[in-house]
Amino acid sequence: MGEQAGEQRLQPASGDSGNLCVSSRTRSRKEMDRERVREVKGADSGSGSARMELSTLDGLHAIVPQMSGGISISFSDVAKRYDLRVVFRAVSGEAQPGEVLVITGPNGSGKSTLLSILCGLLRPTRGEVLYRSADGGNLTRDAWGRHLGVVAPSMAVYEELTALENLRFYARVRGLASADADHRKLLERVGLDPERKTPVRGYSTGMAQRLKIAQALLHDPAVLFLDEPSSNLDPTGQDWLEECVRSLLEEARTIVLATNDRREMTWGSRNVSLAG
């Protein structure tokens, strides 16, 4: 496993003009950590704190696809077994930046399990998953989480907290230098009222789904895992989501999509199908 990891980072080119440029460099992990510390310090001084996480949504159409980097995912012969119950055997596939890999299969065929393995939450019984950055180096499993955004029915946000508190929490544990203003903007983007004081427990499933999407986009990830993302969304929400996915692809994000929804399936450029 390579210690080197390519990172793209969005930084304001000049002051507050709002122009975004992309820098892609190769750094050692230590250097990256130092970089993150510097970012946090920058936030304290109050200058240029609103950067990384806004680019996905604010710059959805503003960003010209000039990104050279991105992270590609490949997996080969992945199998998962619980004692004598085999979920699936020997599944392979890959997704390059700017592509959608669609995983289909009947209920109970292991789509969500495969997704969990691909994002590093579960160890496969056999097989290998690789994250490769633009310069060809492999990312260590520990580093995957930093580049991932996930929306899945089996992964919930905290229902005792409000939407804003949830985003604030995820931003803080990720060490992001984002301010509340950014989180409010992000919530408005996904169609939620940022001033709503009720905990997420009182949300409808559709609203909770919107919050989950906001959570996944918060840190501007290079790789997105979507497990039936438009379930429980109203038609407007579904349109918005599709548009959002298209612009993410233009920004050379890698998307892995597990779905049986006919409309979502049309987004894909590659396909893996799991047998029942």
């Binding site: 590093g120 499993r141 989480g145 992964m155 995820y170």
Partner: protein
């Protein structure tokens, strides 16, 4: 380092805020402790024990109440993350040691709140007289930390198992028994004013807690990420 601390504090603050709104863990801890104390106080009372047995037996009772209350509620921190399906996103977002430190801090706050309520009440109801109150506080603090460290890593383990109910107590008790013995010894010593025994048992408590802390810090990422 300061960034790590800030992230760990964020985890602890999130848990405390959620706990403050639902009060599931604190309720089970405090109610368990109070009902046990009521039962003990009613059946034994302040006069039933002979003078020479008092310090030892009251220390035993105090720590048994605290330990079993802890076993009734301190697994919530991790079990709740798994039951409400919030664990996967936390795994992806936060560094493992950050989660460990945050949860440890949260458990520590819970156990300290429990002790702050229970211990004075216990001393009053049972007529437990302490010769060295400040050293008693030191034993309580060290014991609370040891309890929090051990239950945090065990809770992380059992949260991933299929049957969680009894498993928490079954796994915790063997690891906590030596600590329980040292704590009872130390509490008896501060009650009677035996300075040498107090020093010896505090050293044992601290070295055991220290070993547990170091091993937990190294092993927790393995438990959490796999």
């Amino acid at each position: 380092m300061s960034r790590w601390l800030a992230e760990a504090l964020a985890v602890a603050a999130k848990d405390l805020r959620a706990e403050f709104r639902t009060r599931v863990a604190l309720n089970s801890l405090v109610l368990f402790a109070l009902t046990t104390l009521a039962a003990v106080s009613y059946t034994i009372g302040p006069y039933r024990l002979s003078t020479e047995d008092r310090p030892f037996l009251l220390s035993v009772l105090l720590w048994i109440v605290i330990f079993f209350a802890a076993l009734a509620g301190l697994d919530r921190s991790f079990v709740k993350e798994e039951e409400s399906h919030t664990a996967p996103l936390l795994r992806l977002a936060a560094a493992p040691t950050v989660v460990w430190a945050g949860k440890l801090l949260y458990n520590l706050v819970l156990i300290m709140v429990l002790m702050a309520l229970l211990v004075p009440l216990f001393c009053v109801l049972m007529g437990f007289e302490i010769a060295m109150p400040w050293r008693f506080a030191a034993v309580l603090a060290a014991g609370g930390f040891g309890l929090a460290v051990t239950t945090t890593i065990i809770a992380a383990i059992i949260a991933q198992a299929l049957t969680r109910g009894a498993l928490f107590s079954v796994l915790s008790l063997p690891l906590l028994l030596p600590l329980l013995i040292f704590l009872i010894q130390g509490t008896t010593a501060v009650a009677t004013g035996d300075l040498d025994t107090y020093r010896e048992s505090l050293r044992a408590i601290l070295s055991m807690t220290g070993a547990m802390t170091i091993f937990s810090a190294f092993l927790f990422p393995v438990v959490w990420r796999d």
